[in-house]
């Protein structure tokens, strides 16, 4: 009898992301970040647990309401408070980099590198 405590959850996570509401939320976030649906799914499956994936739609809606200015353009509230893919300090750092004069495109690229 072997006790398997850690199972591969990727197929079950994908099943959750295929739900109607979850799929809409994933597509809208992928559109924000300029990714394809599959790339977005891959990041989410690697970085979030199953319960966050179930709750992804209300969380992203709450982040949409909270986001404004530079944070909105970089989707920082979505990645930090809503999904926890980045820590709050990392989010602050990216915002301050834009405020220091770096272009939004290059900071977005840096965010993608951290996520990938």
């Amino acid at each position: 009898m072997d006790l398997v405590y850690e199972r591969d959850l990727r197929s079950m996570k994908l099943l959750i992301l295929k739900g109607t509401r979850q799929d809409e939320a994933v597509l809208s976030l992928a559109g924000r970040l300029g990714l394809s649906r599959q790339q977005m799914r891959k990041i989410l499956i690697a970085g979030c647990d199953m319960m966050t994936l179930e709750n992804i739609a209300p969380r992203l809606i709450a982040a949409d309401e909270a986001a404004e200015g530079i944070a909105d353009e970089l989707s920082i509230p979505h990645l930090t408070t809503a999904l926890g893919l980045l820590s709050a300090e990392e989010g602050e750092e990216f915002i301050s980099r834009v405020e220091a004069g770096e272009s939004i495109e290059s900071v977005k690229k840096a965010i993608m590198e951290v996520l990938a």
Binding site: M1, L3, V4, R7, M12, L15
Partner: protein, 153 residues
């Protein structure tokens, strides 16, 4: 029947430990099992104790139609239950999958494919009295003269 066996029989009759395992039910059957605990039905007056711990259980109550996570875990859990043991399934789901067994679903009934099932209580969900009745009658038959039956094998 030896004296030891008759003592064991009478003790076992008044001490049945139950563990319930939800393998993908809708909660209806689990709630009816919980209702058995209430003083109205008072499952403990028959010597049935709900501990929900497979290591000290005699009877496992299975509700639900085998969702993907349980397919390897339920036989594992069954192995950990000490002998003598019995499995009683509650509700329609472990028998046939009930309304969930349709193309596109992720469950894989029946439960008897994975572990040996002693008794089944159909119903969606069955009443608490039926559940108590099933546990009592299945446990009585199965645990009586257990050691002598084992020796004959």
């Amino acid at each position: 029947m030896s004296l030891l066996q008759s003592i064991k029989n009478s003790v076992r009759k008044r001490s049945i430990h139950v563990c319930y395992v939800n393998t993908g039910s809708c909660n209806g059957c689990d709630i009816e099992i919980l209702a058995c605990l209430s003083p109205r039905y008072d499952i403990e007056q028959y010597g049935i104790y709900v501990h929900n711990n497979p290591r000290e259980a005699d009877v496992i109550l299975v509700t639900g139609g085998m969702s993907p996570q349980w397919i390897d875990k339920l036989p594992d859990l069954f192995d950990r239950v000490p002998e003598p043991k019995a499995v009683v399934t509650i509700g329609n789901c472990p028998i046939s999958g009930c309304v969930f067994n349709r193309p596109g679903c992720v469950i894989d009934p029946p439960v008897s494919k994975y572990i040996p099932v002693t008794a089944a209580v159909p119903g969606c969900p069955p009443r608490p009295t039926e559940i108590i009745n099933a546990i009592l009658s299945a446990a009585d038959e199965l645990f009586k003269n257990h050691e002598e039956k084992e020796a004959k094998k």
